[in-house]
Symmetry: C2
Subunit: 366 residues, 2 copies
Amino acid sequence: MSDPAASGPVTIALDAMGGDRAPEMVLEGAEIARTHHPDVHFLIVGDEARIAPLLAKRPALAAVSVIRHAADVITNEDKPSAALRSGRNSSMRLAIDAVAAGEAQCVVSAGNTGALMATAKIVFKTLPGIDRPAIASFFPTLRGESVMLDLGANIECDAENLVQFAIMGSVFAKAVLGLVDPTVGLLNVGSEALKGPDPVRDAAAKLREIEFPGRFEGFVEGDDIPAGKVDVVVTDGFSGNIALKTAEGTAKLYATWLRHSFRSSWLASLGYLLARGAFRRLRHRTDPRQYNGALFLGLNGICVKSHGGTDGEGFAHAIDVGVDLVIHGFNDKVKQEFSRFEGARNGDDSASTGPTTAPIGIEQPQ
Amino acid sequence: MSDPAASGPVTIALDAMGGDRAPEMVLEGAEIARTHHPDVHFLIVGDEARIAPLLAKRPALAAVSVIRHAADVITNEDKPSAALRSGRNSSMRLAIDAVAAGEAQCVVSAGNTGALMATAKIVFKTLPGIDRPAIASFFPTLRGESVMLDLGANIECDAENLVQFAIMGSVFAKAVLGLVDPTVGLLNVGSEALKGPDPVRDAAAKLREIEFPGRFEGFVEGDDIPAGKVDVVVTDGFSGNIALKTAEGTAKLYATWLRHSFRSSWLASLGYLLARGAFRRLRHRTDPRQYNGALFLGLNGICVKSHGGTDGEGFAHAIDVGVDLVIHGFNDKVKQEFSRFEGARNGDDSASTGPTTAPIGIEQPQ
């Protein structure tokens, strides 16, 4: 496994064949990201016959890129198990393998989420103490940005999974967002202690017991997510995915209504013209490409999942997220924080003993 | 049980003590609703000493209202079991009892949702074939309005519960929204058949097998809800509650950003002034009071739950929803449709045999 904070140029492995508009969209994204990070190199993994002519048209990108041929493609219809079994020569797999081999420090893919998670989990392995990795992403809020996890990797979660997600999310908020004392909430249908499914209530009880690396604020509800009530929202992958997509759809609905309202009279249209700048700022703020790039937390390697339907701008943002994680030595910080937390749990204040393989602070579920 | 379509004036039983700003808010709501439905009478149930002087200040409302004293109040902190055990003289219970006794045709309460559901279930009983009632509400979409259920009555649901909700939702869309062939979707994290938790996948399989009173469209995702992809969205109460509240919170976030954008420059402010009418229409469209009033579907009596934090306008809307249900003989139509569906399931096309008590078309879960 590569050292994410190693000196030398950062190389990002790109799954060139993942996403609705791949490989063109991936190359366009890389070209845009290159202007943000001129020192970054790219390992572009996919069908060489298709990629080479496209790359030749982008000489600036070609100068910092290497193509690695991959004969196969994982499609969105492939089951994760099939991707694992027969996808060893796929662009997705070879891009992940390149990170495991230390040839790149991060992989970015807009391909099949389930296959990407399953492959990354098998190749990278989970961090010590983590049973299941989670998908995390930023979420725009009234107070700025929050992090939410899990967003779909784990459809059903027990209390221990949720506790681990809470710890990972808090450590992530500290290490990457630079928050000193991040607030963490468990997503539920009410703030009272007696509400909700057993795993959620049990996880809350555990989080109140253990020495938690952040401030556990108890339960939060759906409307608390966009309100930014906590820095980290923890939930199972089913509810998290639904909440995220409902929020995206609602923002689209509101934007459509707004557009219709301003087309309803000539006075409104004139108002729209005068306020163009305000609308541009609003559009920028609510642009889903601004939030593109979901992280797989809990893995011993950096993997960023881009939305499959995004364009070059959106894919560039996902690359930017990956580059930031590499530059800030994100995974090392998570490991350090985690082992510090583990050390404290084991009555040892030193982080130098490194992480143990024991589950984190709570008993195994019966 | 009263006949909802009975001739004579409609009487609505109001839990005058439920809601953050009760009883004033309840009386204000009734006064507003009265202007929409001048023939409706109110049975105002609660603390007579507090209600009487407030009602005296509203002579038009007083002319169509009767106060029924209730010594107790169910608070939001009361467990549903406690409300059932010791709440027999509460305003909520006595309002529900009045409907059961035929003195009123519908109860509206802004009180404790769990207590209201538990009490209504005990007093009204569920409709034949329904194991658990569900909370349903309208949801604004790009195409108009959809219905979503369950919104929090059942935190965990098995496949049979979801199938029953789908049937109830479809029948509701036919009977109340007047749709000929309503489309129904199961909320999930992907549209592929292999995705999601077991109960959701099993429910989809069942809904494809049975003679479904509507058009079952398979799985829908979070963003399909505000897009209006289907007329009826079916989910468990945990995800449904989270989706609903996330949508509400996101609409608030968007509205706040919009306001900030237009305050950012004098040109934008001028644009805002010119487009005031457009903003007013948008505000009206997104006003949560417009969608206030959740229905308890599957009960043998009409019960509408208002948001606890609403004001008089919002509470009036919840009353309006209840009055509409009574006037259109909603519960009778649901029963008729249901027994027709049951009849067809039992190989009998006539609805005259009435509903049976057998579970609907699917086996009992193991």
